[in-house]
Symmetry: C2
Subunit: 371 residues, 2 copies
């Protein structure tokens, strides 16, 4: 029997987990509440890889009051020795009587083991309470464990008439400062940011998280962490002076035949990692790219690319969330389209489901998923 | 001294006036409340041209209780004998003690006369209470009296990537049934609907109000009234079989030199009115067209046109309200743009102010004005 109290406690655990939205990479975001009846005796959330897990922090706050208490965790407690001892063991040793786990570990090879360990120790275990809400904490972690590929967010900033730049390429700024701040947060949520060499050559973006531009979110940050910068660059044309290369942590996907060339070796000498993947007429083989990024442990990928690469992602139905920032302007019919997307007949139109719509300064932010 | 009670009474009068939103043409929408203290003793609104004015209806409901009462009117009472006797006279004869008028008559040749008539009869008169709200009842009436031109609403139905049709011209349907119902209401609000001959030839629209598709609005309708259909058609190419010609009440603006040609005379023989106006390289001289429509008594003009005519209206800054219905779809980069609008540099972008944004079925309706 699940009570409203149980739901409220799990909601609190989920809320705590979100505090790690910008900082737990590559670990999942996890929250934990320990309660005796209506009284919360311990709360915890995972803040950074290598630091204490949510359960351990909540248990440490609860102290002796954990004995006989109920623990609410957003993700199945781990059962293995990693950088920290298994959380399932910690819960058992603390003497908790009951555990609610919103989700099981999505990794098929360990899924259910933590809960089994608890059950074997005589703890009452309930799975799935607010499971959908908890799964949303870690869409990339969940998807990568299931499919081997990261969760893909495609970001676009466009006018009401669907343009992202003038014909000349001029594009700064379409959206207002609030939307640009929001994009900084979106980057901070991401494990990696993907762009194409065309954008590197045209706009020379750094694609870094600038924490001073994120605003005060109240959430944890990890100032030492930058998302992996990823460039689709068949011929290794990224200039050695490109801003995106500053600070390192850059991965270039080029054609396999490019790997042995001078330009590729020049980039490698700068510390850039290069991987050969397949290319098609209209650009990189995006499916292969996503598989490779999954193997690199990328959970959440942000695509900030020009119309060609963006169009490929949409066209091949590989976008999990389209984050569309819409400015209340018209850029005119000669402006650049949001995505190169050849559609001949109305029946082939791309239909979106609006997951979220909100005002961000003067602009509107839509989060869309394929219908 | 204006009290909250006065504001509440005027708000009610404005609410009543809106019931005529689809039916008072060419008259303005007007509401009237007659109150004794907190007690409303009479309410009225103008429903159709030729029928009783708002004040007369409210007075008739109030009966002898109008003596010594306060009248709240959204528009200055008329002072002239038209199809009905002057309302100012009716208020005087009924013995009201005080009149609040939200707006004065925008017609410069009669403005203030009705209020003067009341004052001369010893009635206490207060102008301007909720004047902005009341003026919004009749944007076209107000604007035409001031400038000689109608209020211009440009309607567009577009995708999130700013397309209104496929390259082939295929466009049915971008938006959902709720948005199309909303457009029927928008048409019913309008005195005239303007399109270009290109749209007539390509889509053969009827551009009529289909009252059975309006839904139940709770407002009055005038089943016998259709907005004037207006076609910008330089060479009188509108086919005699075009749907837009059915039911009559069509005005074609052509080149003056076209008037004497066979095609023009064929249209005239079908009862179509033709007027010669100036044409430029990119189409009709829109300023001249608006002057001509103002002379025809058109208060509120709805533009439902293709990208060329729509682009001219935007480019020449002649749009008072852009009604943009946005469907949550992408039609692709080969689709037709919302408006032909050549803009070279970001500094020349068209900046909109969002007056209203709401969900209409699956679509989003934005009402925009130039910033």
């Amino acid at each position: 029997m699940i009570s409203d109290r149980d739901r409220a406690m799990m909601a609190r655990a989920i809320q705590l987990a979100w505090r790690g939205r910008y900082s737990t990479h590559p670990n999942p975001r996890v929250g934990c509440v320990i309660a005796r009846g209506n009284r919360i005796v311990g709360e915890g959330w995972h803040e950074r890889a290598g630091e204490a897990h949510a359960e351990v922090r909540a248990l440490s706050q609860a102290g002796y009051e954990a004995r006989g208490a109920t623990a609410y965790v957003t993700l199945e407690p781990c059962s293995h020795y990693g950088r920290t001892p298994p959380c399932a063991k910690a819960l058992i040793e603390a003497g908790v009587a009951q555990v609610f786990a919103a989700t099981t570990d999505p990794n098929p090879s360990v899924s259910g083991r933590g809960l089994d360990m608890l059950r074997e120790a005589g703890i009452r275990v309930t799975e799935g309470l607010m499971g959908d809400e908890a799964a949303r904490l870690n869409p990339g972690f969940m998807k990568r464990m299931r499919t081997g590929r990261p969760w893909v967010r495609l970001k676009m900033a466009a006018s009401l008439d669907g343009r992202t730049a003038m014909a000349s390429g001029e594009s700064q700024w379409i959206t207002g400062p609030e939307a640009r701040q929001d994009v900084q947060r979106l980057r901070a949520m991401s494990d990696a940011i993907l762009t194409g060499v065309g954008t590197v050559l045209a706009d020379d973006p750094s694609l870094t998280v600038r924490r001073d531009e994120m605003g005060d979110t109240g959430d944890a940050t990890d100032p030492s962490r930058q998302p992996l910068r990823v460039i689709a660059d068949r011929d290794a044309r990224t200039p050695s002076t490109a801003r995106i290369l500053r600070g390192g942590n850059v991965q270039v996907f080029c054609a396999s035949s490019t790997l042995a060339t001078g330009p590729a070796q020049d980039l490698a000498a700068l510390g850039v990692r290069l991987t050969g993947v397949a290319w098609k007429d209209n650009g990189v083989d995006v499916s292969e790219l996503l598989d490779a990024l999954g193997e690199l442990g990328i959970n959440e990928l942000l695509v900030e690319a020009g119309p060609t690469l963006a169009g490929t992602f949409i066209n091949e139905n590989l976008v999990d969330e389209l984050w569309l920032y819409q400015a209340p302007v018209f850029l005119g019919s000669t402006g650049r389209p949001t995505a190169h997307l050849p559609i001949e007949v109305m029946a082939d139109k791309v239909q979106w489901k609006v997951l979220d719509r909100r005002q961000v300064g003067e602009d509107q932010r839509l989060i869309l998923a394929r219908h």
